[in-house]
Subunit: 381 residues, 2 copies
């Protein structure tokens, strides 16, 4: 049902994979008649420069890239990150600011005769961007919000990225199996979630890609449940949604498991969700609208009269960020492209009873998709 094929790679494609991402940014800048781009979004920063530091929060940046349309790109940060920046950001000139970005930026832009500077309006706070625009305008520089310039490069994963994602998926599955083997009724959701985190640590992961969800019985009716002190019960569905980050790249998998014997209703709903998932995976291929993959899975659940119980989209892109473009939902007319990595995760949620969700990750291919998940922990169907 799901096409799995490893493609022979052309020399040109292999070379493309090697090319420094900042060169692609520079090409886009020249096309859009911008003199430079200021990169603030952490995954974009990492993607373009290799610099792996994380921001403490959106208001506390670990640094910015300043990529001119031509010439050497720069990494601007403060002294706390100096050593890490210098060792990681190959090909970048590392420059330090003492009292925030603006002072240094003004100087650099003047030296480089920048008149139009792009900035990431979707990852700069309104107050910071407003100040940036104002201060730069005073120096004859127009700050122009741009959206998706780096993200558009991140949409399609190259071979090296897919290998990294595959490894993150494999590690995630190994960890799931390790913990699954130790599950017993009476353990609390928090205990299980922490056992997963511990296994991530012991297996050399960067860490969790997001807050692990372990939601037993009625708690499974919340798609974004936070683990509680509720003990797992025999026979109830337990939604486990977990992601391991490895070398920066994320994985994301959901299984719904039952300790002991599931009742008929659980089995029935499980079969329905699994059927929807397989239909979703079967629909995924390059060239179709994201909404069409969503519809393929949703139709199965709708026909069973539970359309209103599947209240979220079918999936989302995964890469350096665990949630990134594209979004697979009812409203997205964007087209799937070869090399995108997306989740396929239908679910049904019944308040008071619980939920069933199943999630795999797939690579979009020309005529179908490659399932990155080998795990087959599905209720015996």
């Amino acid at each position: 049902m799901i096409s799995v094929h490893s493609q022979p790679r052309s020399a040109a494609a292999a070379e493309r994979d090697q090319q420094a991402p900042f060169l692609a940014v520079q090409k886009k800048l020249r096309r859009q008649r911008l003199d430079a781009l200021l990169v603030s979004q952490p995954e974009n920063r990492r993607y373009v420069s290799g610099y792996t530091a994380n921001d403490t929060s959106v208001a506390e940046s670990a640094g910015f890239l300043l990529v001119p349309a031509r010439g050497t790109p720069m990494l601007l940060t403060d002294f706390r990150y100096q050593l890490q920046a210098a060792s990681e950001a190959g090909g970048f000139e590392v420059l330090l600011y003492r009292r925030g970005l603006l002072g240094l930026l003004k100087k650099l832009l003047a030296n480089r005769r920048v008149k139009r500077l792009g900035f990431e309006g979707h990852y700069m706070l309104y107050s910071a961007a407003t100040q940036l625009k104002k201060v730069l305008a005073g120096h004859g520089v127009e700050a122009v919000p741009v959206t998706g310039m780096v993200e558009s490069l991140r949409l399609k994963k190259n071979r090296a990225e897919i290998e990294k994602i595959q490894k993150a998926v494999q590690l995630n599955e190994k960890i799931f199996q390790e913990v699954y083997a130790t599950l017993r009724p009476g353990q609390t959701e928090r205990q299980v979630a922490f056992a997963i985190e511990r296994a991530m640590h012991e297996n050399g992961a960067d860490g969790p890609a997001f807050e692990t969800i372990v939601a037993g019985g009625p708690n499974g009716a919340l798609p974004h449940a936070v683990p509680t002190d509720r003990a797992l019960q025999k026979g109830e569905p337990v939604v486990i949604d977990m992601g391991t980050r490895l070398n920066g790249y994320c994985s994301d998998m959901t299984r719904t498991v039952v300790l002991g014997r599931p009742d008929d209703r659980t089995v029935e709903l499980f079969r329905l969700v699994r059927k929807a998932q397989l239909a979703g995976m079967a629909a995924v291929r390059a060239g179709i609208a994201c909404s069409r993959a969503d519809k393929a899975a949703r139709d199965i659940i709708r026909r069973a009269g539970l359309g209103s119980r599947f209240g979220h989209g079918l999936g989302h892109g995964v890469g350096l960020a665990v949630h990134e473009a594209p979004s697979l939902n009812r409203h997205s007319s964007k087209k799937l492209m070869e090399g995108m990595v997306v989740t396929v995760e239908p679910g049904v949620y019944l308040p008071g009873w619980g939920g069933i969700r199943l999630e795999n990750m797939v690579v979009v291919r020309k005529n179908g998709c490659d399932n990155l998940n080998a795990d087959t922990t599905f209720l015996d169907l």
Copy 2:
């Protein structure tokens, strides 16, 4: 040296502590001639409503508060958070949006004849805020960026908050001691950091307030070091900077420890930093400029010829956020106020050698401060 005194509370003060924070927001709104405030910042949202959900990221909100200048405040979220919102946000009307905030917001503002809506420009992305302004302008509503309206309420902690912070500090110290007792040369920084996280889990914490720092030997020269696989060595300084979150409130403590015998240089630098810390704590009291507390500690380090090796500010506020106002640094002319909770954390950082940092938390009082830390793990001086 540090004044410790428990103050008798007046009935009026006790009542003030009990007052719903949204009433204080409403008062500020009326004073600033705003018809409503849209709260997007997660700690502000929690402070005002009691709703504890976390945002997945700045671009994926768990909900917004809409506080009108008069009448019932509202919590706007999506179906994933419906049950949690309803159970936690006492006194708030919970309303759901299906496809993002804007559609619902337009309707609510029209019904309530809102003409001027404040929004948190320091916690809304530029692209989102720009769209908000544009869409609302089309409906005759002016969206006005406001800064610090809720933060200003959070600056001074009331008695109940200080009790919560004190408990988070006590738990943090207990966990530090548990792990400190098991430290041995040969353990890696990552292992120690994870032992701390495990102890937080086992002791019922919400979780770490920030990424734990364990930095041995030369790694200690990076104030924001990320734990590595480097093994701890006998005799070297190991910087441990950790924070436990409990009931939403944060703690933040740094100790620099040595396994085995420290050499003379370590002892000398340790004494210097401790002396600077005590001078900083002795300077803290209501009414002085934040820069003056910073200077009191910095002068000690500067006089020893190491001024340039203390490259960050003396401290920061702590509450629902681990980094919040006020900032204690060279440039801050803001005044300390009674009831603020701040860190006092001088350090010296010698590239290639390592670092020493010591951090306590104090409550600012009229004539001094209360040290919230009881831990005395300081090199024998």
